[in-house]
Structure formats: structure tokens, C-alpha cells
């Protein structure tokens, strides 16, 4: 592999780790800040586990619903109910950096979806809502099918994400 490609791949992995961390925190706090996210997560079965893998051995995020809270599982060897594994880090990077929506990524076969597709739909709706908070309108206009009516400001969401409560 050329040195330039190595550096870019390393950079993409590190940025993906940061975005996935923000996504986890956003799931955690938006459960309390946004009633639509709360409604969706409440419908998930107890101990429901969802993972997003950027590629085979790349950065990943595993979320677990436990006692009406969203927790992060740091080990990569547990079996999840829903698994979204991107076919390449580059495809994952497009989505994580707001250049591709979840719906379009699914339609373009960018990831492998393991588990009950109907259960995954609720997760997709949550990601869409969270993206409305995390990304500016200029991006969400391109990647989301509809404008979401935010219940709190994005600034407030970011503050909660940073202070983790």
C-alpha cells in the first residue's frame, strides 16, 4: 500500500472513531431530550444490541438497551441482534461524515445488514433524527428525505453530548 493511502486510511479510521463516539453519546442523551427517540427506543426489546462496523476490522460501535438506557459495549465479540457492517471503510466514511444518508446507503448496498430488517427500521429512524441534530441543514437537506422538526436546539444537544448527561 502506498504511504499516502496508508495515511488517508488511518485518518478515516480515526475520524470514524470520533463520529461513532458522538453517535453513541447522541443516542444516549437524545433518549432524554427527544420524545420521538424515546418512543422508538422504548419499543426495542430489553438487552437489544445493535452494532455498526465500518468494515471487517475497522472502528465499530455497539449499542445496547439496558434498563431503559443506551449503553456502549466495548468488546467486539458479542452477538448483536442487528448488525450493520459496511463493505468498505470508505463507504462507512461517506455516511459518517454526512455525505450519504442511511436510506441511500442501504439502497446502494453499501452495507451488510444482519438480523430482522423490520427491527432495524426503528434504528434507522433514530439515526435520521440524530443526524438532524448533529449535521447542519445544508447537509441534512441532501441526506434526509424530510426535514425533522427538532425538539431541542442542536447546540443544546452538543452540550449534552460533551458533558455526557
Amino acid at each position: 500500500m502506498r504511504a499516502r493511502t496508508k495515511i488517508i486510511t488511518f485518518g478515516k479510521k480515526e475520524i470514524s472513531k470520533i463520529v461513532l463516539f458522538f453517535l453513541y453519546r447522541a443516542f444516549k442523551v437524545s433518549y432524554y431530550l427527544d420524545t420521538n427517540i424515546e418512543k422508538e427506543i422504548k419499543k426495542w426489546k430489553e438487552n437489544m444490541q445493535i452494532e455498526i462496523k465500518t468494515c471487517e476490522n475497522g472502528p465499530f460501535l455497539i449499542l445496547k438497551k439496558s434498563n431503559n438506557q443506551i449503553k456502549r459495549i466495548k468488546r467486539n465479540d458479542t452477538k448483536s441482534d442487528i448488525s450493520i457492517q459496511f463493505k468498505s471503510l470508505d463507504s462507512a466514511f461517506l455516511m459518517l461524515t454526512g455525505r450519504l444518508g442511511v436510506a441511500k446507503a442501504y439502497a446502494e448496498h453499501r452495507f451488510i445488514l444482519k438480523g430482522d430488517i423490520s427491527e432495524a427500521m426503528s434504528f434507522v429512524r433514530c439515526v435520521d433524527i440524530i443526524e438532524s441534530y448533529l449535521f447542519p441543514r445544508v447537509i441534512t437537506k441532501r441526506i434526509l428525505k424530510a426535514k425533522y422538526k427538532k425538539q431541542k436546539s442542536s447546540i443544546l444537544m452538543y452540550v449534552h453530548i460533551l458533558i455526557n448527561r
Binding site: 439502497a107 448496498h109 438480523g115 430482522d116 430488517i117 427491527e119 428525505k145
Partner: protein
């Protein structure tokens, strides 16, 4: 417009037309198969369709290994395991599936168990999990002109315990050969021909307009729409050979198209209607299609307008102002619904289909969790779906 990225695969070989059935033994031999397990259902056995295929095969001095016809409309995991066991006990080396979506989906399930060499396929549920596995030669012979299952990368199998329909999506589900022969739809009742024909139209329209439309899937969708526009009414009314083979081809092409570009809102609601109210899939498609198109109109009206040329022909297309073509397409489909209703009694409202109004909220709830809704170009939430259902009632 060319998409930034798309994927497309249709590796199934198509045999279509006169004496297509008679070529099955040659195809099997080319796939190194000598002893196929033949799957079908009791109805096809009773009306003689199964015998037509057996005669066509056996007159080429080719014998099938075992025939199994106890396949219900909704196959479950247990049945699939049972058939896989029969396959092994009878030393079969390939599968022939004769029937509608249920029989072909069952065959896909059996093939999954055999090729992956596993007992439980639940772990393979989802999109693109399935690896290539051991090759089991597979010939599909559709007996309806609607599902397109003979060329789709999708299988739906019932999980009886949890009462869920497990969805499997993988290019490795595609049959090796699809055989389209007009003898297979000769005994198709008019109402089923109408209902499955509208299902095929729906596949093509949604494939042409959903998020992953691409030049390859468009080509198949357009050809399917053109054939349906020219042949659906005639195939139902007169049942002519040419119209029936055209519809079977249209269904197959619509299947190739949606298998690659996916279906949207009409199917999401249709699946839910089937699950909650047991409305047959084609009937649900027939009822819902214009209502869902009206809902999507502000987002993809232009695409619906393009369909008009293929569905209604040059004259209607050119005589309709550009900004009215989308609405005209819906009108043409409404007229088709009316004609099919007069010819066969195919229901045109949910009420006529026996749906109870109090079930609509449950249908809407299920529809927004259907995988098809994600690729609909316009966002549709619970309230939106409920409104569409109420309009269609």
C-alpha cells in the same frame, strides 16, 4: 441521471417461449445435475400443470429424483428442514421449483440450508449475509405472472414460533435458470391473472422510481411497463397465448428490476396489509398503487410522467402537457383498475377487500417498520401511511 454508485446482478438464465420446458433436462445436465428434487403444490398437481412439466422432462429420457407437493402458501422453517432432509435421503443433486412465490421461496430456503450446510437459517436473516456456499443447481418455473420470484434475490420464510416473516436478501439466492412457458399460465384464473399482473406493474413502477434506480434496472422496468400496458387487459380478458407469455416476461423483467433497485411505499403497506388483514399481495398492490403514487407525486411526479410513454403509448404521452403526465399516469392506472374490476371483480378499495377499518392503525404501525419503506423517495411516517390507508378504504 446516472447514480454516483449502484450495484446490479441478474445471473439467472432465462428460457422463454415455445418448448421452453423441454429444454430443462439439457440445462440441468449443463449444471452437472442428474437427480433433481421437484417441488410444487397440491393445486398445480390437481389441475395437471405439474404433469405437463413432468411429461416435458421425461420425454427427454430424464427422470426427476423425487416429487414433493405438500407446500402451503406460507412455508416455515420446519418444512424447509423437512424438505432438505428428503433431498439428502433421496440423493438428489438439484432443485426444480414449479409454482408461485411460495413454492419458489420455499425452494430458495431449502437451497440455503443445503448450500450453507446448516440446519438453522435464522442466522442468515438480513441483507447480503449469504456467502456462495455449495452450488445446488436450481431451476424455477413460475406459474403466475406477478411475483418475479424466479429472478429475485429475495426469499420470505415464516418463523412460526415468533410469527414473523423472515426476510433474506442475497444475490446468492438467484436461481440458475428461470423457465417461462405459456402452458404454465394457461389455467391461471382471471382474477389471479389480474391481481398478479398489477403486482408486476407495481414492481416495475417502484423499481423505476425508488432510491436505487439505475440505468440497468430502468431498462428492465421500462420494458416490463410497456409489456404490461399492452398485454395485461388482453391476457385477463382473452387469455391469448401471446398476451400470457408477454405478461410472464413482464413479470420476470419487473422482478429483475426491483430485485436490484428495490420496491417502496406500495410494497411496505401491502406487506403490512397481508400480515394484519390477510389481503392477497396482488390485491393489495392493485388497491394501493394510485394512492401511494399520489402521495409521492410532489417528489417524483416527473418520473411518473416518464412512465406514461411506456404505459399508455406515444399518442397519449404527446397529447398530455409535461407537467400533467405524472397525474395522467395515475389516471391510466385507475382506469386499468376499473377495467380489471369489471372483468374479474378484483377489489379496488380496502373495504371491498374485506379490511376492517379498526385494523388500519395496526397496518400503518407495521408498514413503517417494513424494509421497503426505507427506499421510498419520500419520507412516510405513521400518520402519512394511515392517511393513505383511509383514502384507499
Amino acid at each position: 441521471m446516472i447514480p454516483k454508485y449502484y450495484e446490479f446482478q441478474n445471473s439467472t438464465k432465462i428460457l422463454s417461449g415455445e418448448f421452453a420446458l423441454e429444454n430443462i433436462p439439457t440445462e440441468l445436465k449443463m449444471l452437472n445435475a442428474k437427480r433433481p428434487l421437484f417441488l410444487s403444490d397440491e393445486t398445480l398437481k390437481q389441475i395437471g400443470t405439474l404433469q405437463i412439466v413432468l411429461d416435458a422432462i421425461e420425454k427427454q429420457d430424464f427422470k426427476v429424483g423425487k416429487i414433493y407437493t405438500q407446500i402451503p402458501p406460507d412455508s416455515d422453517l420446519e418444512l424447509i428442514k423437512k424438505i432438505a432432509k428428503i433431498y439428502k435421503e433421496e440423493n438428489c443433486d438439484s432443485i426444480i421449483a414449479l409454482g408461485g412465490g411460495s413454492v419458489i421461496d420455499t425452494a430458495k430456503g431449502v437451497r440455503m440450508v443445503l448450500s450453507q450446510e446448516i440446519e438453522d437459517i435464522r442466522n442468515l436473516m438480513g441483507a447480503e449475509i449469504l456467502t456462495y456456499g455449495k452450488h445446488i443447481p436450481f431451476v424455477a418455473i413460475p406459474t403466475t405472472a406477478g411475483t418475479g420470484s424466479e429472478v429475485t434475490a429475495v426469499a420470505v420464510i415464516l418463523e412460526k414460533l415468533k410469527q414473523i416473516k423472515m426476510e433474506f436478501i442475497s444475490y446468492n439466492l438467484l436461481p440458475d435458470v428461470a423457465v417461462i412457458d405459456f402452458r404454465m399460465t394457461k389455467t391461471l384464473p382471471k382474477k389471479i391473472a389480474a391481481s398478479t399482473g398489477m403486482d408486476a406493474l407495481c414492481h416495475a413502477i417502484e423499481a423505476y422510481t425508488c432510491l436505487q434506480k439505475n440505468p440497468m434496472s430502468d431498462a428492465y422496468a421500462i420494458s416490463a411497463i410497456k409489456l404490461i400496458g399492452e398485454n395485461l387487459i388482453e391476457s385477463v380478458e382473452k387469455g391469448s397465448k401471446i398476451a400470457r407469455i408477454a405478461m410472464a416476461n413482464a413479470s420476470m423483467m419487473a422482478g429483475v428490476s426491483f430485485s436490484n433497485s428495490m420496491v417502496g411505499l406500495v410494497h411496505a403497506i401491502g406487506h403490512a396489509l397481508g400480515g394484519v388483514c390477510k389481503v392477497p399481495h396482488g390485491n393489495a398492490m392493485n388497491i394501493l398503487v394510485p394512492f401511494c403514487m399520489k402521495y409521492n407525486m410532489d417528489k417524483i411526479g416527473e418520473k411518473y410522467g416518464e412512465i406514461l410513454l411506456y404505459l399508455a403509448g406515444e399518442e397519449v404521452y404527446l397529447n398530455t402537457p409535461k407537467d400533467k403526465r405524472g397525474e395522467k399516469t395515475v389516471k391510466i392506472i385507475e382506469e386499468m383498475k376499473e377495467k380489471l374490476n369489471k372483468l374479474t371483480g378484483l377489489p379496488i378499495t380496502l373495504k371491498e377487500a374485506g379490511v376492517k377499518k379498526e385494523d388500519l392503525p395496526e397496518v400503518a404501525k407495521k408498514a413503517i417498520n417494513d424494509g421497503a419503506i426505507i427506499v421510498n423517495p419520500k419520507e412516510a411516517g405513521y400518520e402519512d401511511v394511515l392517511e393513505i390507508l383511509q383514502e384507499a378504504y
